[in-house]
Structures are given as structure tokens and as C-alpha cells.
Symmetry: C2
């Protein structure tokens, strides 16, 4: 790397037909690697230009000839028909009605039919086999109970690989619809291994094989009606791994059989945002073992050709959890994560793999993942790039990755010089941040924070996908805020909390809606969990609860931590109970939380002792409660923005008794600072698009005055 | 009654020391009866003036001498201490901490102690007797589990009759605190009967003994802290009937024992707004039988002296359900209901008793029941009176009562001539409405509506108390709207609905929050209920669901009637499911519902077919769904006002296929009409404080134009 941070650690998407542009931008952006992209090719001129070469492989895709010759090697999923109310003694169900006909085909093979289930959804019971038959594409249930609702759960072939389907429908691709193979099919698996060997032989210039990603896509079920094109999307669901063969192997290994209903789950499916059933946990483990084993075999092939194997942690990643127990065993040389946000940078940076690379947004595509224009009329790619960079930068200041890069069609950058300049600047700032951490990590306050939820470390930093897919969950806002704060952060499960993970922590955060995976649902029925957390706070810890923390029905309080929080939610039974009156207490040093809360109904003070920091419509929305020598803090919601991010830091600092004693904190919340003791360097960043004058606290109690240009990264030697 | 409606059917509160005022107002208001009030006396001059005389008796109160001589004859209740978290191996609970010390005294007699229960609220289990003891006014639990929360449930004497307590604390009374006797105590019961006999003998001029009311007050638990003065108030809870003697008699009769926890119910108590447990249903029946038996004995005494017995349906009314199966057996001659609202008029008018009388608001007290000034600085008693009258009038137009009257201190009317005039006017309007119905009832559209909830007919019209106590429940708004609509209304339980009560109905309304008594909670797990209602709508009926109708967890939809409504609520499991897009459908003739809905989150269209009438923040809030030949209508909320009342009527009319075919409907929703076929008289009322020009639809399809003065009642011969 050059001293002026102009060169290296940058992956450029090359494009055949735009050789000069490719080489020019490679120089301007300081690329050391050129890659192809989904939909682009590299020409010999590019490949031979002396750069490292990443080649993108989607291993299960682009084998339409094999798929058509062996249609039973294609991937499948369980689907459930829409319910039909019986108005008589029989009812007809048409399985695929409402599903996108280009994505699915009914699998009515004998081994698939054995997995079908007809359900009486009114009674929530399965209809016996002898009461239904499948004829001419329809299920006839007879006899049935009049006025009950019926569904059929069935297996469907997925005949259009979903990322290809997305690009066709969003980016107007017109090429052949690509199919996808299931590596569990023995012929397909032999074929794929041979295909990879052949590929490696035919691509000697490739230095890194970039898997995009492995075998099974996250779940993405399209509807036939344009008014419901997206029927279900979950970035971490496992439905697309299902097949009769998988179920057979599962029951052989686990000693019990899964049914369609284990996947269909009362038509709700099993979203990552809900606590998994015990069967789902088993099934995930089963799939993870399979994916790890097969992935290792492919990585071994790549390695045998002297190439490195990186994996892209998006698209067909399911079963390959980077924080799962088997990830390291696969032997990947690098993990690439496409990012919009700080939490995704931390997710990438923290994974146990040699190289960590982030793919910056916007991609060089006409339309962004959020559906808005980027490199087309109405788009502002340079603004987007800098906005995402501001989120990424503060996370990278805490823990840096090894590389950055872009993806997409390079030619789209033409006519966008401001974007080209923005990427050049981002590259230089990234290299500076990386270089600082080479000598040692940023200074972190002596504050250890754990985010407590169902999944624990397995879902470190992310919930399920990008921010814009999960914005309705307060926890993703909290994770995003935490990603750039000068505190230690870990993610623990309820089992962890019961078994020693609270030791040494300062603060535990539990944030979610009652019953979801982030709040925890039935996990809160475990008394040991309540005991451990109660003891933790009593002895000086802090418990921050957001929305419906620790909520579960069946007890005297809805929030199981109400004794610590001093606040609870009335689910209806307390409508005749009086409410403690209160006055807003302005004495806590938490700033103004007014734009981060919602007007949640039904909250009430349990014993009147909690300090109400904010309320809406006469209902407390933020409170602080002394419990033993610790604190219970309640927030009805959390929306990430500079002010609320600072409020969260203020709470963490206050609960750790460090108010006015924390160094390297900016006076203006639009700016943030990171100090690198090894190089005695202070970095102050301006997250705002305007000039900011701020102070920065120093260990000796003094304050440094710093002037920042819009979005500036300022380096100060201390 | 005189032809000009100036005289009769009016009960005036007389006041000793204001004899001339009493007689003057009796004449001006056309009173035929003079009464005393709680806190006032009548003098001989009044009693002998030739009016009927009501005398107010609160049978269980004003016996302090007996109560102090027999302290164990006083009434009791179960209370539960506030929870305490154990920080070690023992924990101390102080039972009455937080309760109003002037209202309660611990009952630690041996028979009471046998009913006490210590609970581990963390595990929701009772602590064995051998692990706690009661010493020096405190419960010591040892050993206990560290970090668990503990409570003690105990019996307390209620040493200040609650209405007397209310008047002292609100109306600044300073007289002796009155105690109350439990008629279940044998000596007390003998004493009360003798006292009533003596009283009847000593009050020969009394024509009607007005019981205020019977034995047990509704539950009203005060706190010691001014910030939580009201700990619990429920107008229809039974806690104040409890005693060791009652529990003993119950177990003898029902074959099982109730415990403190049957009342304390995880510290939630058992509010009327929640579905009762089976034990609570038994206990209510047990108390109702006791109250009816004892009340009949008292009524028989009153009758034996040639007097009539009226009962006031407020205060100590518990156990005397006017729509219960035993009410008629008591033999009351009249029911008096104090009213603010139309639904209370219908409640009174529909009870099975010879005479129905309403007590108008405001009472002649300095402060109203809502806590705002009336007959003191800042009050507007004439405005209040007319406002309540507007609500009452439209209900009385549908079904009239026999008498009206006032209560309180008559001298407070001095200096309020506008109030005196308003009451004179109200009296005349009432008498006109009553006279019209003497010949026959008002014309009713051929629309039969049932309100469906847990309590069914037992809680016809009311939920639990006045409107201002229950405004947070959409059903009270609906009942209030219905009270003046030209439709048949009945109240049915879920059992009724399963057993034929749907026959002949046009529309069923279910309105409440998930799990409460009005929505229904676990009743919706009964498949037969779902079947019957589904069939009912399929065959042409309408189901109107408000807020969280038919909601219960455990099925594929949260609303069990989602198949009929076409809309459902996502409790979290569907956060990854796509949502049907929609356009607002303006084609239904329901007016503008925008001020009666809330911005409820998480609602989604089930199959995309429902017509969305209104939405907020992108979420449907009102929808109409065709199901078979009937309709499912959803409203996220209902706030009673003229526009929404008209919208409800429009829905009922539409669902009955009567749009543009319903006679005697006003064009302006601020006005309402009632037609009396027997006398060929149309009454048009203006509910607004401004002039209104409206049309009224006629059976021949024509429209009548009517001009109305503010609040006017106009009589038109047709």
C-alpha cells in the first residue's frame, strides 16, 4: 500500500467491451483485483493486465441443460395453498393458485405426494389421507366439515433461480431463465464437482474463485398477482433446502420425521424473526452440516488448483452461518459481505475467516436493492455511496475489514464523475482506517454490552438481511447504533445468559416485540433466566429493554423483567387498575429522546419508583429505574439517528458510572471519534452533510476543539 | 299528566332548610315525588306537602355502633401485597403497604389466616405454609429463592364504606366515616331486618323505599400514595363480597374450595372486561343467589308496610344483575339508574321490573362524577344537563322509561336559572316522548342486530359502569351509537350464538381487544362458534368486527373470522410475508370514517379481495368483504359521534340490502328521527348545538324538509 493510501485492497468489477474504462478506473480507485459480476464477463485484455482476478461462480446455477435432462435434480420447497372455506361436504383446493407460475411447478411424484398434507385450519388438525385425493391438478377433500377452512401443503419444484428471477423482473434482464440444482441429488453433486474442476482448469488466470454463494437461496416466494408479487421473503429461512431426500436423510439421522407442517407452520412459515421450534433447530443443524460438508469439498477442489476460495455472504448462502460452529471447517479464504450499514461491516469483520471484504453500495446497477433508481434517471449514486460510507466508516473505525470493492456493470459509471470521485475518496479513507488498526485496535471504553436474543452469537449483528428489510424491528436500529460505539459488544442467547455469559458485562439489551425471536417469547418462561438477569442488575448491571422486552403471557407482569424496569405493559387484564401519576424527570444526562420513541399504549409504572424520562399522550415511553445497585432502562422504541445513537451511548456510559469520565467522546452527536493508542492518533469523523464544530473529551478531563468539513474524516496526532 | 306535558313522572330531591325552594321547583319541574338524598334530609313541611315521598336507604351503612360492637360483622375483601424481590434467602412482605390505611385493616383472625396465600410470582406457584410466618404485621418468607418476586394475598376488613369515602374525599364531607355490615353475618342480618322494620314504622309518609343499593359495593380500592389514589375500580367486580364465611358456604354448595388466588388472579384481580374463569362464574352465581334471597326478604318487609321498594342500580349493587335470572324474583317495584348516556337509558328501560326511572346528570353536587366542577366556580350545569339529555333523548325515543329525576342538594341550583329552565324543558320533552310510546313503539327498521360477547344478555348495553369509565373500549361507543338507532338490538353470548341465537339476525357485532371479554378470548377456540358464524355470514348475514374481533392465538389467522372479514392482524409471525397492495374503494355508502379509526399496526388483507374503505400510514383500517351472500366489515376502532353513528347505521342498512329504502332517516347526521305509527307522529331531534336543516326520508321515497333549532325536539304529524 502506498503511503498516501491511494492503492490496494480494492476489488473492481471489470467489464468486457469496456477495457480502457476498466483499467482507468482500476488505477483511479487503486484496485489490486478485478472481478466479473453476475451478468458481466472479463475479456483477455483485462484478465492479462496484471491484476488479481476474482471470478464469480454461482455453483448451482447455469446448468439448465443438466437440469432439463434431470428435472428431479432441481431444488424444491414446501408451499401451502391459500385456504378455502367449505360451503358443503366437499371442497376443492388448487395448490399453486396465487403462486408465481414462472417460479414453481407442483411436484406430484410419489415420494413428494407422501409429504403432502391437507389441513383443517379451523381445527388446526391434519385431514386423514383417506379423506382427500389429488386429481387433475386439484385436491378434493371429501368429506369435509362445512364452514371449516382447508389448505393443502405440497412440494413444488423451483424452476427459476431466485436471484436470476429478481434481476429479470427488476433490472429487465431478458436472457434464459436459469434453473438451480440441488447438491443433495447424487447425479447433480457429481456433475457439480466435475463442473468446478473443469472450470478451474479452464480459468488459469483466476486467483480467487468467488462463490455466490453456495447452494440454497434465502426464501423468496413470488405471487402470481402483481398486488402480491412478494408473498414471503426471509433472508435466513431454510425452506428452500427442503426435498423428500432431505427429509429422509433427516429422519435417518435424528430419529424422527419432519412433516410439511414443520415448514408451513399454520401458513406462517418459520421466519427468522420468530423463535424456532425444536424441530426447526434440528433441521437447521442438519442443513448446516450438509452445506459445510459439501462446501468443503468444493473449496478443496479450488485449493487443489492453487486458487483461493472466497464466499459471498448473500443470495444462496443458507446453511452457511459465518458465526455457526462449522463455518471455519469449510476452509474459505475470505468472506465477502455486501453492505449498506455499519452492522454489516461488523458482521463481516468479526467472522472467523482469513480475509474480510465488503462490497459497497450502490451496486453498479440501474436500480438499487431498495427499488429506487441509482445509475439511471432520478438516481444520485454519489450521494448514496457517501451515505452508506458514513454508516460503514464508523463501524470500520471500531473494527476494520481487509478489503472493499464494488459490483455490477462498470460502464454505468460513465457520466457520473462525482460518483467516481466519491469512490476514490472512500478508498483512501478506508485504507487510512485499516492502516491505523494494523498497529492496534481503537480505544474502547470499559463497557461490555451484550445483546440478548433467541439466536445469540449465531445472528451476531444482523437480524435477517439488510436494514431496509428489517427496519420495523427496533433491534436492527440498536445494532446499527452499537456498530460504531466505543464499547465492547457481543450477542448472547438466553441459554448463554443462564450459563455464565452475564459475568463481566455492564449492560444487557433486549429489544423486540412480544413473542418474536428478538424479545424472546417463551424463553422468558425459564425462571433461571429471570433469576440470573435480576441478580445481574441488582449487583450493578444494567438491563435496557425496548418495545416489549422479556414479554411473555402467563405471569403477574407481561414483562418478566418488570421488577427491574419498573414499567410493564397491560395486555388488558389491568384496564381497571389505576396508574401511577408521574412527572417527567429531566435530571438524567440522556439528551432528548423524543424522536426515537413511539406512542405505545398500555404501558404503566409498576411501583411508581421509575423515573419517567419521556412520555406520549400521558403514557411513559422511556424510564429509568434503580434496582439494587443497577439500572433498568425502558424505551418504547429505538430509531437509529445521530441523536438517538448518542442517547444510547449516554445510557451505557451512565449505567457504567462513567458519565463525564469517558474520553474521546464528541460534544456534537453528529461527529464521532476513535482513538488509536498505538499510533497516538485520534480520528474524528463528521457524519453530517454540513460543517460541524465539536469538542472531543480527553483523558485528562480537557476538551479538544475540532472543526470538520461535511462528512470529513480528520486525523489528529495526540 | 297534563296535556302540555308540564306535570308528573318527576322525582325531585328535597332539602330541609330549603322548604320554599323545594316546593317552588317541584312546581316548576312538575314533580310528583320528592326524595331525600345521600347527605340530605326532608323536613315535615316537605313530607306533608302532598307529594309522593322516596326515602333513600343504604341498608348496610350507618350502623357504626353495631359495627364497632361486632367488628367481625363488617365487610372484607382479598388484597395482595405489592411484590418484593428476594435478594437473599428470606424476604419480608408487609401486607397493607401501599393500600389506603383509612379504608383497610388486616384481618389476621384464625379463619382469615387460613385463607392467606404467599406466592412466588416468578414461578407463579404458592409457597408452602411451612415456609412463611406472620409476625408483628409482616410476613416472613424463609427459605425463599433469591431473585424471585413474592407476594402475600390476605383478607382485609373494609372499615370505610366506599361511597361515603368517595364523598368525603371528593365533596369534602367531614362527618364520621361510615362502616358497612356484611348481611352474611347472622347477627348483622338479624339486626338489619329489625332496623328496616323499625325504619318503616318510623317513616309512615314514605311511599317508596329507595335502596341505595343493596349489600356489596362495586370494587374500589384506594392507595396510600396520592400518586396512586385509585388502585383498582371496577363497577361489576365481586371482590367486596368475599369473606371466610362466604368461601365456606361456597365450598359446601359447589363441592370445591375457592382460594385467595381465585380473586387475586396474579395480582390482576378479575375485571369485568376480561373473560371470567369457571370459578368466577360459579362464585358470581353463588353471590347472586345470596343477594337475591336477602334482597327479597327486605323487599317483603317494605311491602308489608304498604310501601314500594325501588332499587338504585349503582353503588352497592353487586350481585343484583337486572338482566340476571334472579332479578325479577326479588320483587322490586322499580329500578332507578343514574345515567350520562343513551346506553344507560336502554339498560334501565329494558329491565324486567314494573317501573323504570332514570336519574339525570349532573347531580346537584359541587363536582361531577368525572371529577370536573358542576355547581361551583367553573361549572356549567345547564350545558352538562343538555349534553347528557341529547344522549338520553335519542335512546328514549327508541324505548322510554317511566320516570326521570334528580339527586343531590337542591340549594345548589340557586344562582343557576339556566339550569332550572333546562330541567323544566327536559321534563316536558321526556313526558312528550313517553306519551307517544304509550300508544305503541317507534317504527324500527327490519334490521336485527346482536352484540356478541362473553357476558351476553347479562351485560346488556353496559360494559362495567359509566361511559367515562369505559371509554377505552370500542364496544361502549358502539352500544352508545346503537342506543338511539332504529334497529332491534340484543346482546348474546358465545354459547347463545352456538345454540340458535343467530337465527333471524341481520348483523352480529364483535368489538374488543384480543383476550378481553368483549372480543371473547379463548371462546374463539370453539370451532362450533366459528362454524355457526361463518355459515351465518355465508347465507347473507353481516359480521362487523372492531379492533381485534374474534382474536385468539394458536391458529393460522389471529382473527378467527378472518375468512369472513378478509383482514387479519399479524402478531409477529408474518413479518416476512408480503402485503396485498390496495386502493381505497370510495363506492360504499358509508360516509367518511376518518375520525373514528386509529392507526392500528400489523393489519393485512388475507386474500386481497376485501374492499379497503379507509387506511392510515399504509395499513387498512376499515374494510368490507363479500363472503358468500353476506358481508364481513372491519373497523380498527369506533369512536361515537354523530358522523360515526350514522356510518354504523349506514353499514347496518347496507348489509340488510336497505340502502335508499329505509324510511325516517335524516339527511344530516346531526339530526335523528323516530316515527310513531300509532299516532302518525314523526319526531325529529337536533343533537347539535346549532341550527340544522335536514331532510327525512319517507316510506314513499320522498323526502321531508325539516328546520331545527339548536337541540330542538320537533313533532310533525304525518
Amino acid at each position: 500500500m502506498s503511503e498516501n493510501f491511494r492503492q490496494g485492497d480494492f476489488t473492481l468489477p471489470g467489464e468486457a467491451g469496456y477495457e480502457q474504462l476498466t483499467l482507468d478506473l482500476a488505477k483511479k480507485w487503486g484496485a489490486d483485483v478485478i472481478r466479473d459480476s453476475d451478468g458481466t464477463k472479463l475479456s483477455d485484455e483485462i484478465v492479462k493486465a496484471g491484476y488479481g482476478i476474482y471470478s464469480t461462480i454461482c455453483i448451482i446455477r447455469q446448468h439448465n441443460e443438466f437440469a432439463l435432462a434431470h428435472p428431479d435434480s432441481q431444488q424444491q420447497t414446501f408451499l401451502c395453498s391459500d385456504p378455502v372455506v367449505a360451503a358443503g361436504s366437499s371442497v376443492i383446493l388448487r395448490p399453486l393458485d396465487g403462486y408465481f407460475e414462472e417460479q414453481f411447478q407442483v411436484n406430484d411424484s410419489p415420494e413428494a405426494m407422501a409429504c403432502w398434507q391437507v389441513y383443517d385450519r379451523t381445527t388446526d388438525t391434519e385431514v386423514p389421507r383417506e379423506h382427500w385425493k389429488y386429481e387433475n391438478g386439484a385436491v378434493i377433500v371429501s368429506p369435509c366439515v362445512p364452514w371449516h377452512s382447508y389448505t393443502v401443503s405440497f412440494l413444488a419444484w423451483r424452476v427459476w433461480e431466485e436471484i436470476n428471477m429478481y434481476n429479470h423482473t427488476t433490472n429487465h434482464w431478458t436472457s434464459e431463465h436459469l434453473r438451480q440444482l440441488d447438491p443433495r441429488h447424487p447425479l447433480a453433486w457429481e456433475y457439480l464437482q466435475k463442473w468446478l474442476r473443469d472450470w478451474c482448469e479452464q480459468n488459469p488466470d483466476t486467483t480467487v474463485v468467488r462463490f455466490t454463494s453456495l447452494f440454497y437461496n434465502f426464501v423468496w416466494i413470488f405471487g402470481s398477482d402483481a398486488r402480491l408479487r412478494n408473498r414471503f421473503t426471509d433472508w435466513a429461512s431454510y425452506d428452500f433446502t427442503a426435498s423428500p431426500a432431505a427429509l429422509k436423510a433427516f429422519s435417518a439421522e435424528y430419529g424422527y420425521a419432519l412433516t410439511a407442517e414443520d415448514f408451513i407452520n399454520q401458513r406462517k412459515l418459520q421466519a427468522t424473526h420468530m423463535p424456532p421450534t425444536a424441530h426447526k433447530r434440528d433441521y437447521m443443524d442438519f442443513i448446516q452440516a450438509f452445506v459445510a460438508e459439501k462446501a468443503k469439498a468444493l473449496v478443496d477442489i479450488v485449493h487443489s488448483y492453487g486458487k483461493k476460495a472466497y464466499v459471498f455472504y448473500d443470495d444462496s448462502w443458507v446453511g452457511m452461518e459465518p458465526y455457526g460452529k462449522r463455518f471455519a471447517s469449510i476452509g474459505f479464504d475470505g468472506l465477502i459481505k455486501c453492505i449498506f450499514s455499519g452492522f454489516e461491516c461488523r458482521l463481516c469483520a468479526g467472522a472467523n475467516v482469513p480475509a474480510h471484504e465488503i462490497r459497497l453500495h450502490p451496486y453498479l446497477f440501474p436500480v438499487g436493492l431498495g427499488g429506487l433508481p441509482t445509475f439511471q434517471e432520478g438516481g444520485h449514486p454519489e450521494k448514496d455511496a457517501l451515505q452508506y460510507w458514513v454508516s460503514a466508516r464508523r463501524a470500520l473505525l471500531r473494527q476494520c475489514v481487509d478489503r472493499i470493492g464494488l459490483g455490477g456493470y462498470l460502464h454505468l459509471t460513465q457520466g457520473h464523475p462525482a460518483f467516481v470521485d466519491a469512490i476514490e475518496r472512500i478508498g483512501m479513507e478506508f485504507r487510512k482506517i485499516k492502516a491505523l488498526q494494523k498497529d492496534g485496535p481503537a480505544y474502547t471504553l470499559p463497557i461490555r454490552v451484550a445483546v440478548l436474543h433467541t439466536w445469540g452469537a449465531l445472528r451476531s449483528w444482523t437480524l435477517s438481511g439488510h436494514f431496509h428489510e428489517t427496519y420495523m424491528h427496533p433491534l436492527i436500529h440498536i445494532n446499527e447504533a452499537l456498530s460504531g460505539l466505543p464499547v465492547e459488544v457481543k450477542f448472547i442467547s438466553f441459554e448463554d445468559a443462564e450459563n455464565g455469559a452475564l459475568d463481566g458485562l455492564n449492560t444487557v439489551i433486549n429489544a423486540g416485540r412480544a413473542g418474536d425471536a428478538w424479545s424472546g417469547g417463551d424463553a422468558w418462561k425459564r425462571n433461571r433466566l429471570v433469576e440470573k438477569l435480576t441478580e445481574f442488575v441488582y449487583n450493578g448491571g444494567a438491563f435496557i429493554g425496548v418495545d416489549e422486552p422479556s414479554a411473555v403471557p402467563g405471569y403477574d407482569t407481561f414483562f418478566r423483567m418488570a421488577q427491574v424496569l419498573g414499567i410493564d405493559e397491560d395486555t388488558g387484564a389491568r384496564v381497571c387498575h389505576g396508574r401511577w401519576t408521574y412527572k417527567i424527570d429531566p435530571s438524567f444526562p440522556f439528551g432528548d429522546p423524543s424522536d426515537g420513541l413511539k406512542d405505545k399504549e398500555h404501558l404503566y409504572l409498576t411501583d411508581g419508583k421509575a423515573h419517567v424520562i419521556a412520555d406520549m399522550k400521558g403514557v411513559p415511553q422511556m424510564s429509568v429505574n434503580r434496582f439494587g445497585s443497577g439500572w433498568g432502562v425502558y424505551l418504547s422504541d429505538f430509531i437509529v439517528n445521530p441523536r438517538n445513537t448518542r442517547m444510547l451511548l449516554d445510557i451505557l456510559v451512565y449505567a457504567a458510572n462513567l458519565t463525564d469520565k469517558a474520553p474521546y467522546i464528541t460534544g456534537d452527536c453528529r461527529a464521532e471519534a476513535a482513538y488509536y493508542p498505538a499510533s497516538k492518533t485520534l480520528i474524528v469523523v463528521n457524519n453530517a452533510p454540513e460543517c460541524v464544530e465539536t469538542t472531543v473529551s480527553l483523558p485528562d478531563g480537557n476538551w479538544l476543539n475540532v472543526s470538520l468539513m461535511p462528512l470529513e474524516t480528520k486525523e489528529i496526532a495526540l
